[in-house]
């Protein structure tokens, strides 16, 4: 009997074609995740000349300790990202109609060692998303001894190698932070924001794969940490929401750090501005050893990836956006440099309140 059992098990195997496909998918996914998870103190740089160099200005570990520099909110037209998620759960304040389109509750969860992590909701557009997880002990008690920093961020992080990966994405950059949305319950929240380069035009409909391990608390300056909850939390869910992105008129001239450039495409959604443009100068990239980006190369990438951006609101106010905070990539051509840039807003933007966006000195009306 055990012989027949073993023989039946022997016959259960992936085909050579399936293994080949899995190998390719695995290698590609691993490369993407490495690109999406830059080192805390360095830009992620991939490829050599003529290939896309990718930079994420804000890395998760830095954010956990230092917090996120906020966009100056000059008007009442922007609402906090936390409020957006509150709307998804508790509805229905002012901007629920839009939030309902771009945000979706998820409800996928995983439990390990008495701690449950639940992917609560996701909001996003074609290439940017923010996903919020709740983390709670199953016995109903709260995590002890975790004091928020001055900016409200909890000094927590998952073990290195933890990831949220969306199938069909090549590279990306973003940030993550922990907070306590409701101190009266025992759950804390983790929100991760990412801008990605998608194979195809959009991540909507793709599968998100979540692999998280060991929740850690950082102490002091962030150089030390200890495990608060040991475990592994794996889950997947469909990236499913309505694309409310608006394409801005492109093809015109803009200026980037004093250089002439052409805006190839511009898309704005309630959570992000996504740009592609060509600077008519070649980025002066100096060879460097792999690893940390040299100061020269970092300055060069910053110069090419810092288009000035201003939101012009219907009430007459303006909101300056710090474009350097976003994720972006550059690729040198013979006489020019192709650039892509994704800037996720710190607060939810109701596009109905926006008249136009000024990019690199050129005002572009929302249709």
């Amino acid at each position: 009997m055990n012989r027949e059992y073993n023989k039946a098990m022997d016959g259960l195997r992936f085909s050579p074609e399936a293994k080949k496909r899995m190998t390719a998918n695995l290698a590609a996914a691993q490369e993407r995740e490495q690109a999406a998870r830059p080192k805390p103190d360095a830009y992620a740089v991939r490829g050599g000349k003529r290939r896309w160099r990718y930079a994420a200005a804000v890395a998760a570990a830095v954010v956990l300790v230092a917090g996120v520099g906020g966009v100056a909110s000059a008007t009442g037209n922007l609402m906090g990202m936390g409020n957006v998620f509150d709307d998804l759960f508790n509805g229905p304040p002012a901007q629920t109609e839009v939030v309902d389109k771009i945000g979706r509750p998820i409800g996928a969860s995983a439990t390990s060692n008495g701690v449950t992590v639940t992917a609560e909701a996701i909001i996003g557009d074609r290439t940017n998303y923010a996903v919020v997880f709740s983390i709670a002990k199953d016995d109903g008690t709260a995590f002890e001894g975790i004091e928020p920093l001055e900016n409200g961020v909890l000094p927590l992080g998952f073990e290195s190698g933890s990831s949220v990966h969306i199938d069909g994405t090549m590279s990306g950059g973003g940030d993550g932070r922990f907070y306590d949305a409701d101190p009266s319950d025992n759950a804390i929240q983790y929100v991760e924001r990412m801008s990605v380069t998608a194979i195809g035009s959009s991540i909507i409909g793709h599968t998100a794969r979540v692999n998280l391990s060991d929740l850690k608390m950082y102490g002091g300056d962030g150089s030390t940490s200890h495990v608060v909850a040991e475990g592994e939390w794996n889950m997947k869910f469909a990236v499913d929401y309505e694309d409310t992105s608006v394409d801005l008129p492109a093809g015109g001239a803009i200026e980037v750090s004093g250089m002439d450039a052409t805006l190839d495409s511009a898309t704005v959604s309630p959570i992000a501005l996504t740009l592609e443009y060509t600077v008519h100068e070649v980025l002066n990239w100096e060879d460097q050893e792999s690893g940390r980006m040299s100061d020269h190369n970092q300055d060069e990438m910053d110069r090419f990836l810092d288009p000035s951006v201003t939101l012009n609101m219907k009430d007459g106010t303006t909101v300056e956006i710090d474009a350097l905070r976003g994720a972006g990539g550059t690729r040198e051509n013979t006489n020019s440099t192709s650039c892509n840039k994704s800037i996720m807003f710190d607060e939810f933007l109701n596009l109905n309140d926006v008249v136009s966006i000024t990019i690199g000195g050129t005002e572009l009306p929302l249709a």
Partner: protein, 166 residues
């Protein structure tokens, strides 16, 4: 062993070494091969991205077994497979064919903890103590699962295979 390096060669090594093990173990838990490729990707990607250090092949294999078991339990607990229905509209790869065997069918009719013990002991060759370590159960519990599993199988198969023992 060295830390995992991001390379296709490493992906190929992991798939060749562990994909079928993950398939068989996930089939044991989930009673289906439908999600095996996803489970496999999840587990192997976690290995490639992690900072685990292994003292030898058996240590690495034990990590694979534990992580696969956890991934399957999470899948069962979270309604993973139910949710993937919505994703079926996307092009799906064909799942590996499931075994056509009366004995396998009978084993798969046993409770999960019995299937787990039988697979790890009779197919993977782990001892009771090793299974206890892998699954976080006591040795007494694993022994009981094996013993009761064997008993149930004998009853269910009504002597057809009884003379061969298990």
């Amino acid at each position: 062993m060295e830390a995992r390096k991001p390379s296709e060669a490493e992906a190929e090594r992991l798939v060749e070494t562990y994909a079928d093990l993950i398939l068989r173990l996930s089939y044991t838990y989930l009673k289906s091969t439908h999600d095996a490729e996803d489970i496999c990707q999840t587990v192997l990607l976690k290995l490639m991205n992690g900072k685990q250090r292994f003292v030898g092949p058996e240590h690495e294999k034990a990590w694979i077994v534990r992580t696969t078991a956890n991934a399957c339990k999470d899948a069962l607990r979270s309604g993973f497979r139910k949710r993937t229905v919505a994703l079926d509209e996307a092009p799906e790869t064909e799942a590996p064919g499931e075994p056509d065997s009366d004995v396998m069918d009978t084993v798969m009719a046993l409770p999960q903890k019995y299937r787990e013990a039988i697979y790890l002991h009779y197919y993977e060759g782990y001892s009771v103590r090793e299974i206890a370590s892998l699954t976080g159960r006591s040795e007494a519990a694993v022994s009981a699962h094996l013993s009761r599993g064997r008993g149930k199988l004998r009853t269910m198969l009504e002597g057809a295979y009884g003379e061969q023992g298990i």
